[in-house]
Amino acid sequence: MSTDPSVPPAALAGEVRLPEKLADVEPVRSVRTPIRLEYDFIPGDASSGYLNAFADRKILGQRSPVDGAVFVPPRGVDPRHGAATPDYVELPDTGHVGGFCVTRLPIPGRDDLEIPYVSAWIHLDGADIGFLGLVGGIDTSEVRMGMRVRAVWKPDDQLGRTAENILYWEPSGEPDVPVTAAGTNAWHAKQVAKEQG
């Protein structure tokens, strides 16, 4: 099957039989029907708290009322239990790389990203899940799971109510977290420890 958009699909490539009076008109092989709908994005309570705090260089998570697990970014709910999470927790801007990916292809709309770049699950100290960030200030070949990082913020006069305030995460120089305790491994290790009392 051809992926060339200028080649009509096989089903349309054959002879098109038309009534006689339409014999000389150009057959319609495709129609374009653009759709455009505009929406207002409503972040809701939890995300509003999270985004507003960014303007003050703060990262907010929420604590599960069931077992105290800390989620960042907060979504107003512990998704494991369907329980509302009204309590916010302020988190530090330090953590470690739980997992990462080196990307060598440009992505549309992000001309500001130099290739190759590293996207990573950043596990903040005190948080139980990771969130997405860019890793910078280090050669891509040296990024590793468990590497300790800290946030590089935009200058104070450029801070807005957005997660874009963090330009990227750079190595802090502290000793690595062992891979067995990094990222989601940390979560699993914690669960096992809990089950073993």
């Binding site: 129609v31 029907t33 759709i35 709908l37 505009e38 929406y39 207002d40 994005f41 409503i42 972040p43 809701g44 309570d45 939890a46 995300s47 509003s48 979504r75 107003g76 709910v77 512990d78 998704p79 494991r80 239990h81 369907g82 329980a83 509302a84």
Partner: protein
């Protein structure tokens, strides 16, 4: 066939949810519906939801909303891109098959972030009608004109339906439009917004959600003092292309009602999910509702229409008549598509 009943429900509806996500809306509702009968998600055998990504403008938005359920450890779950009434139907089928005795059904709609009258154009066929972007009120007005000119309904009758909704909604906290003072004369004095439709002919758009718990047999009797037993449920569909339809009728509603046994006995109450007075009139005729049936006692969908949830809300409202011992036999109705293209009828009885 297994005996299956609606054992609890929780609803919320307001004009616009401007500070709440769909997840934040559904967490308390799902917990309320389960909690009312002492269940947690661990006790639920099957979970099914209905919603539309076109309202949120976000692909797979319904997956986010599963956060409100609590899906760890993994649950048996499904979703329909339909009003939640069809999710209830799927859950009913699942319970009929057996192996599970309880089901959680929920749906929600938050159309306020977009322009619903334009969003609804995306349900039209993409070649002939969709590209014209006819807005929802204009399309409904075409039907209203045909009905009035053909004598299928009168302006007086449409005004009566509007007044019934406005007056009935006066004490309904979930209604977003109500008036104890509205009269036929005050309705007829309204200037049309899509001639011949007046503002009160068009359902008041709302945001909201609803969660319902179903249970089978003895489990339902354990959980609920007076379960609303589903005695018949059926859904039918008319052609998609409006050009081939008689727009003064909705044959699929009539067939669904017959299959659900609506006319087999007296109906105390009926809750109809019609987004326009014209369509409420059509439904009353197709469903064969007589003067002894209270129709939309609390204002119905006209007093507040939450896209994708209006039908499941009507079933919840109908079940509440049974739970509260206000009625013994009721009908809940849901519709989907243009001009009542799809109709679902759910007949429930108390013991």
């Amino acid at each position: 066939m297994r005996d299956i009943a609606v054992v609890s429900a929780a609803q919320h509806q307001q004009k616009a949810l401007t500070h709440t996500t769909e997840v934040e809306l559904m967490v308390p509702l799902i917990n309320e519906a389960r909690g009312a009968v002492g269940l947690t998600q661990d006790d639920i055998g099957f979970t099914c939801s209905g919603s539309s990504d076109f309202l949120a403008g976000q692909a797979f938005s319904f997956v986010h909303t599963l956060d409100a359920v609590g899906a760890v450890p993994p649950i048996s779950e499904s979703h329909v891109e339909m009003d939640g009434a069809w999710a209830l139907y799927e859950a009913w089928v699942k319970l009929q098959i057996g192996g599970v005795d309880t089901a959680l059904v929920y749906s929600y709609g938050k159309s306020s972030p977009g322009s619903l009258r334009d969003v609804l154009s995306t349900q039209l066929d993409p070649y002939y009608l969709g590209p014209l972007w006819p807005d929802a009120f204009a399309l409904a007005a075409l039907q209203a004109r045909i009905m009035l000119e053909s004598g299928a309904v009168s302006e007086q009758r449409l005004a009566e339906i509007a007044v019934r909704s406005l007056n009935g909604a006066a004490d309904n906290p979930r209604a977003v439009r109500s008036s104890a003072e509205a009269t036929i004369d005050s309705i007829l004095a309204e200037a049309p917004i899509a001639d011949p439709l007046r503002p009160s002919d068009c359902a008041a758009s709302a945001d909201g959600g609803v969660a319902v718990v179903l249970a089978a047999g003895d489990r339902a009797r354990e959980l609920c003092e007076r379960p609303a037993w589903i005695k018949g449920i059926d859904h039918r569909i008319d052609p998609h292309q409006p050009g081939v339809r008689d727009l003064t009728r909705a044959p699929s509603a009539q067939v669904a009602a017959a299959q659900a046994g609506a006319g087999d006995d007296r109906l105390d109450a009926a809750e109809l999910a019609a987004p326009f007075t014209t369509q409420e009139h059509i439904l009353e005729l197709e469903l064969g509702l007589g003067a002894d049936t209270a129709v939309n006692a609390n204002g119905g969908a006209l007093a507040g229409h939450t896209m994708m949830a209006a039908g499941l809300m009507r079933i919840a409202d109908a079940a509440a008549h049974i739970h509260d011992e206000r009625a013994d036999r009721v009908l809940g109705h849901a519709a989907s598509g243009l001009y009542l293209q799809q109709n679902l009828v759910c007949v429930m009885e108390g013991e």
